[in-house]
């Protein structure tokens, strides 16, 4: 096609005109290949300037546009918009930044002009190879599948279920509630967890749009944001297929396995319990030793496994204090001692809770390397004092507060979903700060302790966050718009080496066994270019950043 390129140089008042010979640019532009028109304007981004640009495009039937002005970060979208309104595909526009990169930073006007000319040449050479790009629109299914029926899963379900959206919870155990059910009281107000769970479970039961599948686990997940098909394995029944537009992973946590607790004396020494065992004992109403008597002195060890796991589980300190409060309530006169390394009690009220606990007569000992040993037939705690001295004290009972760890099968589930697991073993979020509940795969969200150790209210917040992301992006009746600058893989050149597949962080590439080539799913692809960079034979290319386009641009810059 005969390319009709229009070059528009913005004066930006004195900002560009003051330090770049614009006439010289226009003169040079006029003689560049394919350039049909070269014009200047006082301020192209102004309403008048935009009108001017649109008119010229129509009047001269321009098929390509180069705007030499400010940073595309500032006005790229502006001018793309103008082109679109003028009936020109916005991707046929290229900006040359002759303000921030030339006029504003180079003293000497001649030099600034020379550099501006290079940028203009580059943009003109590049735009000649641009291709019109379109965004795909795809139908999507607003329903949501939630894996895990704990606090987070239930919270998300309650927020998401509505008249025009069905929610499915698949829970591996036979009832909702997750880890929290095992706690008689959740700290802070020391409210009963059981009540809270029961209340939410009731609301879920009453909601016709929430479908709970207990005793079920996901078997296979195919599809992508807006169109997932999840195969769910059911006990004594055919696997069921569920269609959903988004998935929330709320698979919770496990406590450090007993095997890992052996070094801390668990299993070796009598009357050494895990916090969970103590919770059960407490729930049963009788806090007693093996010999049936009530403990007179109890030690609670914090940070069990923190060093090996290389993370702090965030809630153990408070949690351990809660255990101390149980004891103080139910075994009056029992001496309770907490061995901790750092008090991790962030938040508005936590320090108060700590103070009250201390005031209730609970002893706090700062120690390192605390573990349970046997001393004269009694459990004892061996530890290193703050001053560095080794010491040991005997107790009737020792309670270990183990670290929270990711569910043992998090890896398989993650792989099934095509999302990543982080260093700590928990699900990796898309961005540790700005996208805490999103994953590398659009449409799959993670909430609660599946994402990392946290308390009940933080879990609820993350559940809400996942719901918020889904409610705002997956609107019933609305189509999904996909990225236009996706990558494509030439089936002719692809060697099926699957290097691209390994570097794709969006799981947007799949390997076609039959054809022995890799294929890009344009719905998932975000055009990051990893595959194009990794592909040795140039089979993978990112639209709008093809080697030809970049090559021409660079060649002109270096000219």
């Amino acid at each position: 096609m005969d390319k009709q390129i229009g070059v528009f140089v913005c004066e930006c008042g004195p900002n560009i005109a003051g330090n770049v010979e614009i006439d010289m640019l226009l003169e040079a532009a006029a003689s560049m290949k394919g350039v049909a028109l070269a014009e200047r304007h006082k301020l192209l981004c102004s309403p008048d300037g935009q009108k001017f640009l649109a008119e010229k495009i129509a009047e001269h039937g321009l098929t390509r546009v180069v705007v030499a002005a400010c940073s595309p970060k500032q006005h790229g979208p502006t001018f793309m918009g103008v082109c679109e309104r003028a009936g020109l595909n916005p991707y046929l526009m290229q900006m040359a930044n002759i303000r921030e990169q030339c006029a504003w930073i180079i003293e000497d006007k001649e030099e600034a002009t020379r550099k501006a000319l290079r940028h203009l040449r580059a943009a003109t050479a590049r735009v000649a190879h641009h291709a019109p790009l379109e965004k795909l629109e795809i139908e999507c299914n607003p329903d949501v599948l939630i894996i895990g029926g704990g606090v987070a899963g239930m919270q998300a379900a309650l927020l998401l279920a509505s008249g025009d959206r069905e929610v499915y919870i698949i829970e591996r155990s036979d009832s909702l509630g997750g880890a929290a059910v095992q706690f008689e009281k959740v700290f802070l107000a020391m409210r009963s967890a059981a009540e809270m769970i029961a209340e939410r479970a009731a609301r879920i039961k009453a909601n016709p749009h929430i479908h709970v599948l207990t005793g079920c686990e996901p078997q296979e997940v195919v599809g992508f944001f807006g169109n997932f098909i999840i195969t769910v394995g059911r006990p004594e029944a055919e696997p069921q297929q569920i269609r959903a537009g988004a998935v929330v992973v709320a698979t919770g946590f496990e406590l450090l396995a007993p095997e890992a607790l052996a070094p801390y004396g668990y299993g070796e020494v009598e009357d050494v319990l895990t916090s969970l065992e103590f919770e059960r004992m407490n729930a049963s109403g009788k806090i007693v030793l093996k010999n049936g008597q009530a403990p007179k002195s109890v030690a609670i060890l914090h940070c069990i496994g923190r060093e090996e796991r290389r993370y702090c589980s965030a809630v153990c300190c408070l949690y351990s204090m809660k255990l101390a409060r149980y004891l103080k309530d139910k075994v009056p006169g029992a001496a309770v001692t907490e061995f901790y390394s750092d008090l991790c009690i962030p938040g508005r009220w936590q320090q108060g809770f700590y103070r009250q606990t201390a005031e209730a007569g609970v002893e706090f000992v700062r120690a390192s390397g605390a573990r349970a040993i046997e001393e004269g037939g009694r459990p004892a705690v061996k530890y290193v004092e703050e001053a560095g001295k080794e010491n040991s004290r005997t107790f009737d009972m020792v309670i270990l507060s183990p670290a929270m760890v990711a569910p043992h099968d998090a890896g398989q589930v993650a792989q099934m979903l095509g999302v990543e697991i982080g260093q700590s073993g928990f699900y990796a979020e898309e961005h540790p700060k700005l996208a805490p509940v999103s994953t590398s795969l659009e449409g799959v969200y993670v909430a609660g302790c599946a994402q990392g150790p946290k308390g009940i209210s933080e879990s609820a917040v993350q559940a809400g966050a996942a719901a918020g992301k889904i409610l705002s992006s997956l609107v019933p009746g609305r189509k999904l718009e996909t990225e236009a600058k996706t990558s494509v893989i030439s089936a002719l050149l692809c060697q099926g080496c699957q290097t691209c597949l390994k570097v794709c962080v969006y799981s947007a590439i799949r390997y076609d066994e039959a054809k022995d080539v890799c294929v890009v799913n344009e719905v998932l692809c975000k055009g990051c270019g990893n595959c194009a960079a990794a592909c040795p034979s140039g089979a993978a290319r990112v639209k709008h950043f093809t080697p030809r386009q970049i090559g021409r641009e660079v060649a002109e810059i270096l000219r």
Binding site: Y311, I345, P346, G347, V437, L471
Partner: protein
């Protein structure tokens, strides 16, 4: 809007991380958003930082896409220099009065070329730079601030203070963007829900006086230090003492104000550790000691960050309390040696990591909405209701307005608030 029609617009108060995230999600959901920010720029406290833990990621690179998205989103109506002055009605049907102070610069014709404030005769300490740098009476907080539109500070502009006919900035602007005919505006908004994302401040003097701040020149606050390290800051990133010397030794004091406030802010340990990396980057030879009480690093990647800090030579020293005194240019940090006596640590620079407190103005808005606040002044969350909702139906709380929280938590709360807003009334 037409009377009787159900309101769908949302008011977001505060354009920090939480406010921005919520606005963008609401807009994506198709809601019209009124984003009210009291300063002239959006982005909030994180824009003071050069880098953020735990990946030491460039803060600007992280936030500016969000800022750009806000500015380019036509469903989001941004009101800078704005404040909420009146609220009536209830969930689903609030009537809010928002006042926008005149900035005397027309954002449409201004291209942010800085000609005006280079010309302005007034030079005063720049609050955004923690008064370490100067600004003009017409200015932006710092280079790279968005929107990149200066405003006239009527408390210092000669026209308003002395009634002079000063038009220097007006003449400097070739786009005629400076417009002194502007007036403060007040408009009435009809919104279905209100999100409070008014953020935090760090504990200020006088609470810091007992740490020598204000008296001993070598003592800095965390935010002062952030600005010193910032490449767009007053020293363009040079770590220097007030007298221009580069510190050879420094102490970072954690938990400043924790006792007075009776809470742990949860993030100070991390950002304090971050400072050790700052030093390593700019002054590799400098000795940096962290004086902490309890390491509070409750994130799956935080302890690793802490370990890395030590590998890079950051020293950790646990102490229940410190006393700071100054003599001849040096700062002396004394702490108990465990055996009843005290130890002294002499350093060139002390960086205080103060507790987070509610931002100024949180109280006023809370009054208007009659939202309960706790003794520290943070907005109280509703018990057992949807996350991020306040006791008052239709009003939500996200970010540090409801208590100290890190960016990750703030964003999650914002997203959760959006869930509440979008399902409100269902």
């Amino acid at each position: 809007m037409i009377a009787g029609e159900k309101a769908t617009d949302v008011l977001v108060v505060g354009a920090g991380i939480a406010g921005m995230e919520a606005s963008l999600l609401l807009a994506e959901a198709g809601r019209r958003v009124h984003l009210v920010e009291k300063t002239s720029a959006i982005g909030g406290m994180v824009t003071k930082c050069e880098e953020v833990f735990a990946n030491m990621e460039c803060a600007t690179c992280m936030v500016s896409p969000k800022q750009q998205a806000i500015l380019q989103n036509d469903r989001i109506e941004l009101v800078t220099l704005g404040e909420v002055v009146g609220v009536a009605g209830s969930a689903g049907d609030f009537t809010v009065r928002v006042k926008q102070r005149a900035g005397y610069v027309d954002p449409v014709s201004c291209i942010g070329c800085a000609q005006c404030f280079e010309a302005c005769p007034v030079k005063i300490p720049n609050e955004f730079e923690e008064r370490l740098g100067q600004r003009a009476a017409i200015s932006v907080p710092c280079a790279g601030a968005l929107p990149n539109v200066p405003y006239v500070d009527t408390e210092h502009c000669l026209r308003f203070t002395k009634g002079e006919e000063c038009t220097v900035c007006q003449e400097a602007c070739v786009f005629g963007a400076v417009d002194f005919s502007q007036k403060d505006e007040e408009k009435e908004l009809h919104v279905a829900a209100i999100l409070m994302a008014t953020g935090f401040e760090l504990l200020k003097a006088p609470e810091l006086e007992r740490y020598g701040y204000g008296k001993i020149p070598g003592v800095h606050t965390a935010h002062e230090f952030e600005r010193l390290f910032a490449s767009n800051g007053p020293t363009t990133g040079e770590l220097v003492l007030r007298d221009g010397r580069a510190p050879e030794t420094a102490a970072v004091v954690h938990c400043v104000g924790r006792d007075e406030k009776d809470y742990c802010s949860g993030v100070c340990c991390m950002y304090s550790l971050k400072f050790a990396h700052y030093f390593k980057k700019k002054l590799p030879e400098a000795r940096v000691v962290q004086l902490y009480r309890d390491l509070c690093v409750p994130g799956k990647s935080y302890q690793r960050f802490c370990e890395r800090t030590q590998e890079h030579g950051g020293e950790l020293l646990r102490t229940p309390e410190v006393e700071i005194s100054g003599q001849n240019g040096k700062v002396s940090v004394s702490y108990p040696d465990g055996g009843g006596g005290r130890q002294n640590l002499d350093v060139d620079m002390v960086v205080l990591s103060p507790a987070m407190v509610p931002s100024a103005g949180t109280a006023e808005v809370a009054e208007l909405l009659d939202l309960p606040r706790d003794e520290a002044g943070f907005l109280v969350e509703a018990e057992a209701a949807a996350p991020a909702s306040s006791p008052k139906p239709g009003v939500y709380v996200a970010g540090c307005a409801g208590g100290p929280v890190d960016i990750q938590g703030a964003v999650a709360q914002a997203e959760a608030a959006v869930a509440g807003i979008l399902t409100q009334g269902d």
